[in-house]
Amino acid sequence: MTAPKRANRKIKDKDYELIQAINSGQFDRFPDLVKRYEQKLYNFGLRMCRDAADAEDTVQETFLNVFRYLKDFRYETKFKNWLYRVAASSCLKKRRKSKFAPDRELSLDEFFPQDEAEVPDQVPEWALMPLEKLLNIELLDKINEAIFTLPEKYRLVIVLRDIEGFSTAETAQILNLSDANVKVRLHRARLFLRDNLKGYFENE
């Protein structure tokens, strides 16, 4: 028995026409693609590498790889997903031992209240007040700091899901993980950040 042929449907996203133009020889359109994504990729690189020079290196490497391999892009995913796959791989290659975020597994147990004193009996103020009243520069810095301290494999997932806005399935595809694995990592990353923020608000 032969397997049913998969439909070779091209995904025509907002980048489709631009990529078609570049691949048909209009190389002068490539800077339009850079303009569309350089800002996002730079911040993605910063969140993954922390160091600005490393972030610049990853952005440059990503675009050079896109330039080299764009002709092989088959529109099987959205271009943006493919781009982030290239960028994530570049960031992982750049990996440096970080004293802020040592590689380690986060277990669910460490986030579950272990003794009675830790069990909350009311919703804290910071989770109740309107978001716009809560937000200030110090808190935004704190959030960025907290993201930096996440071990890399959890940071990758939370950045793609909660900051870049990719779905679970897209994140799984970008990182070559199962959906279940993305969900597990995301939940632990969020719990890690929650504990971090809780500590910040309690000591304020």
């Binding site: 691949n23 048909s24 020889g25 190389f27 490539f30 800077p31 850079v34 350089e38 800002q39 996002k40 730079y42 911040n43 910063l46 969140r47 600005a52 610049e56 952005v59 440059q60 675009f63 050079l64 330039f67 080299r68 764009l70 002709k71 092989d72 669910l108 579950f112 209240p113 009675e116 069990v119 909350p120 009996d121 009311q122 919703v123 804290p124 910071w126 989770a127 109740l128 978001l131 809560l134 937000l135 808190l139 935004l140 959030i143 960025n144 993201i147 939370i158 909660d162 900051i163 679970t168 969900k183 995301l186 939940h187 969020r190 719990l191 950040l193 929650r194 923020l197 809780k198």
Partner: protein, 88 residues
């Protein structure tokens, strides 16, 4: 539910699923199970609320502008690349 009861197995089971609940990735039965549980379990309700706020805050994380010098250099580097033949 008292604090003493909070190591209840059911709390632990639901604790694992709270992100999926917030992301609307659970089926109706699992959602209803959580909603029913948090009505009576203060610690789990607090946990859900603080987790939700964490996600909201994370979504507000600020972006830095790309340095202009780098952006310019990036275009120069790309400009200097040999041009690939169009896809066949």
């Amino acid at each position: 539910m008292s604090k003493d009861e909070h190591d209840h197995k059911h709390c632990l089971e639901l604790f694992e699923k709270l992100s999926e609940y917030l992301d609307n990735e659970l089926d109706e039965v699992a959602c209803k199970d959580i909603e029913k549980h948090i009505k009576d379990c203060v610690p789990c309700f607090v946990c859900l609320q603080t987790l939700k706020r964490t996600v909201d805050l994370c979504k507000q994380a600020e972006n830095r502008p790309i340095p202009e010098d780098f952006s310019k250099k990036l275009r120069e580097v790309i400009q200097s690349m040999p041009k690939n033949p169009p896809a066949g």
